[in-house]
Amino acid sequence: MTGLQIIFLIVTGVTLFSAIMVVSVRKMIHAVLWLVQTLLGVAILFITLQASFFAVVQILVFIGAISILILFSVMLASRVIQDSSPQVVKKWWLPALVATLLLGLLVNFLALWPGFETTLVELPEGSDNIAELGHVLISPEGYIIPFELASILLLAALIGAIYIAIDRKEPQSS
C-alpha cells in the first residue's frame, strides 16, 4: 500500500460518497455543492492519472462554469425548491437494485478482460503533452473534423440556448 494508493482510496471514497449525496439530498442547492465536491474529487483522480491538463480543465469548466450554471438555474426555479414534496419516485428501491446489478455486471464483465489487473506505472515526464494534443486536434490526419464540429456544436448550443432562454412573449403572470 503506497502513499498514492492511500490518497486514491480516500479521494475515491469522498467522491463516491458525494455522488451518492448528489442523488439523495433533498435541498437542491446542497446537491449542487455535493456535485462540486464530486467534480473536485474527479479532478484529483485525473491528477493521479497524470492528466494534469484535464484535471485543471475539469475545475475550470465543470466547477467554474457548469456547476455555476446549474446553481443559477436552481435559483431561477427557486420557488419550486421550497416545497417539501418527495424528491424521489416512490419505488426508489427498484432503480437502486438495477444500478447495483449493473455495477456488478460491469465489474464482472471488465474482470474478464486480461488487462484488468494491470498496474499503472508512472509515465515519463511530459506524457500529458498539450502541444501534441494541439497537433492532433488540428491536423487533417488527426481530429480536425471533430474539432470544427465541436465549434459548430458550441455555436448551435449557444444559439439554441439563448433562443430558448430569452422568451420575449413571456406571460407576465406574477
Partner: protein
C-alpha cells in the same frame, strides 16, 4: 557566498542535509521541506496583506489630498496591526436561518482561492513553489473556487441583498474571465507552454512589448475581476448594501477584506509575471536574489496603477460594465488572437527588431481601429426615467418671499 546569491535555495539545501543527517529518509526530508516552504509562502502572503492595507490607505489618502493613517507608529504604519487586533475581538453575528456550513466555509474559500495562485508563481530563477506544466491554467482555475466561495457567502447568509450581491459578483467575475483567458492565449502562443516558469523564460522580449493590446485587455479584465472601483458594482457602498458580505461580521468579514486586498496584489503579480517578464532582469540568472527584487518592483508598479484606477475613476453603471465586456473586450480579444496568430506566423523567422516593430505597428492599428469603432457606435444616452416634462420648480411660480436668498 552561496547564501547571498540565492538564500532560499541555500537554506532549503542546508535544511535537507540537516534532516537527512539526523536519520530521516530523503522522502521524509522532501516532504518536510514542502510543508515548510508552502507554510512559509502562504503565511508571508497573508502577512503581506497587513502592509498592503497600509500602502493602499496611505496612497489613496495622498491622492485625495489627505494624510491617510498617521497615528499609530511612524507614518501610521502600524495602523493595520491595530485594526487587526481590534477585528480579532469583534463578535461574530450569525444571521437567523443561515446555512451554517456554507456561511462559515465561504470566507475560508475566498482567501484560499487567492492564496493558491502564489503556489505556481516563480519568484526567481531558482525559487518556484510548484512548476506545474499547466500552471497558468491553474491560476485561472482556482479563481473558479473563489466564485464558489462568493455564491456560498451570498446564499448562506439568508439575506436577499447578499444573494443579489453574490449574483452580481459572479456575473461580473465570469463575464470578465472570458476576455482574460482569451487575451492570455497570446503569451501562451508565443511561449509555447502553459507552465508559468516557461512563460517567464520565454520572455527575452517582454510580452507587453510584443502584444500591448492583449496586455491592455488582460489588465482591464483583471482589474474588473478584483471587483474594485471602477468595477465595484457588486458592493457599491454608496448605492447598494455591501454585496455578498453584508451579513458577515468580525474576522469572517475581515477575511473577505483580506481576500480582496490579496487579490489586488496577486493580479498585479500575475500581470507582472506573464507580461512584464516576471523575475527577469539584468543579472537575475546569476544572482537569483535579484529576481525577487525585479519581480517586486514590477508588481508594485502594476499595483500602483490599479490603485490609481481605484482612486481616480468614477464607477461604471452595471449595463455599461457588461457592455464593455461583451461588446468590446470579448470581440476585441478574439480579433487580437486572430491577427496576432496570422502576423506572428508571417514574421516568425525575421530578426527580433523587425518582429517587434511589426507587432507594435499591428497592435497600434488594432487599438486605433477599436477606438474608432467605439467612437462611431457611441451608445445612445441612457433612457430617461419618468416623463420628459417633469414638474420643475421655476422662479416665477414660486412666491418671492419664500426664497430670500434668490431674490437678488
Amino acid at each position: 557566498m552561496g547564501f547571498w546569491r540565492d538564500p532560499i535555495t541555500f537554506i532549503g539545501a542546508w535544511l535537507r542535509d540537516l534532516l537527512v543527517n539526523t536519520g530521516l529518509s530523503p522522502m521524509g526530508a522532501e516532504l518536510i521541506g514542502i510543508v515548510l516552504g508552502a507554510g512559509l509562502l502562504a503565511t508571508s502572503a497573508m502577512l503581506l496583506v497587513i502592509f498592503l492595507i497600509w500602502v493602499e490607505r496611505k496612497l489613496i489618502g495622498r491622492i485625495q489630498d489627505r494624510f491617510g493613517p498617521n497615528r499609530v507608529g511612524p507614518w501610521g504604519i502600524f495602523q493595520p496591526v491595530a485594526d487587526m487586533l481590534k477585528i480579532f475581538t469583534k463578535e461574530y453575528i450569525t444571521p437567523i436561518g443561515a446555512d451554517k456550513l456554507a456561511y462559515n466555509i465561504a470566507p475560508v474559500l475566498a482567501v484560499a482561492s487567492v492564496l493558491m495562485v502564489w503556489a505556481v508563481i516563480p519568484f526567481s530563477f531558482t525559487v518556484v513553489g510548484a512548476d506545474l506544466s499547466v500552471g497558468f491554467l491553474f491560476i485561472l482555475a482556482v479563481g473558479a473556487l473563489g466564485e464558489m466561495g462568493y455564491i456560498l457567502a451570498g446564499w448562506g447568509s439568508n439575506n436577499k441583498y447578499a444573494l443579489l450581491g453574490a449574483f452580481r459578483t459572479i456575473a461580473q467575475l465570469i463575464s470578465y474571465e472570458v476576455p482574460m483567458i482569451i487575451s492570455a492565449l497570446i503569451p501562451i502562443m508565443f511561449a509555447g507552454t502553459l507552465s508559468v516558469t516557461g512563460i517567464v523564460l520565454a520572455q527575452d522580449i517582454w510580452f507587453i512589448i510584443i502584444a500591448p493590446a492583449a496586455a491592455l485587455v488582460f489588465f482591464i479584465a483583471s482589474v474588473a475581476r478584483i471587483g474594485r472601483a471602477p468595477f465595484d458594482l457588486a458592493e457599491a457602498e454608496s448605492e447598494l448594501v455591501a454585496g455578498y458580505n453584508i451579513e458577515y461580521s468580525g474576522l469572517k468579514f475581515g477575511m473577505f477584506f483580506v481576500a480582496e486586498f490579496l487579490q489586488a496584489f496577486t493580479m498585479a503579480l500575475i500581470f507582472a509575471t506573464i507580461f512584464l517578464g516576471g523575475w527577469r532582469g539584468p543579472g537575475a540568472e546569476q544572482f537569483p536574489i535579484l529576481g525577487f527584487l525585479y519581480l517586486l518592483i514590477k508588481t508594485s508598479a502594476v499595483y500602483f496603477i490599479t490603485i490609481l484606477f481605484r482612486a481616480t475613476l468614477p464607477r461604471f453603471r452595471i449595463d455599461q460594465m457588461m457592455a464593455l465586456n461583451w461588446k468590446i473586450l470579448t470581440p476585441f480579444s478574439l480579433s487580437i488572437v486572430l491577427v496576432m496568430a496570422l502576423v506572428g506566423r508571417l514574421v516568425a523567422s525575421s530578426p527580433d527588431v523587425f518582429r517587434v516593430a511589426v507587432f507594435l505597428a499591428v497592435n497600434a492599428v488594432l487599438l486605433v481601429a477599436v477606438d474608432r469603432l467605439i467612437t462611431l457606435n457611441k451608445r445612445k444616452p441612457p433612457r430617461e426615467v419618468g416623463s420628459r416634462n417633469r414638474p420643475v420648480a421655476q422662479a416665477e411660480v414660486l412666491p418671492a418671499q419664500s426664497d430670500p436668498g434668490a431674490s437678488e
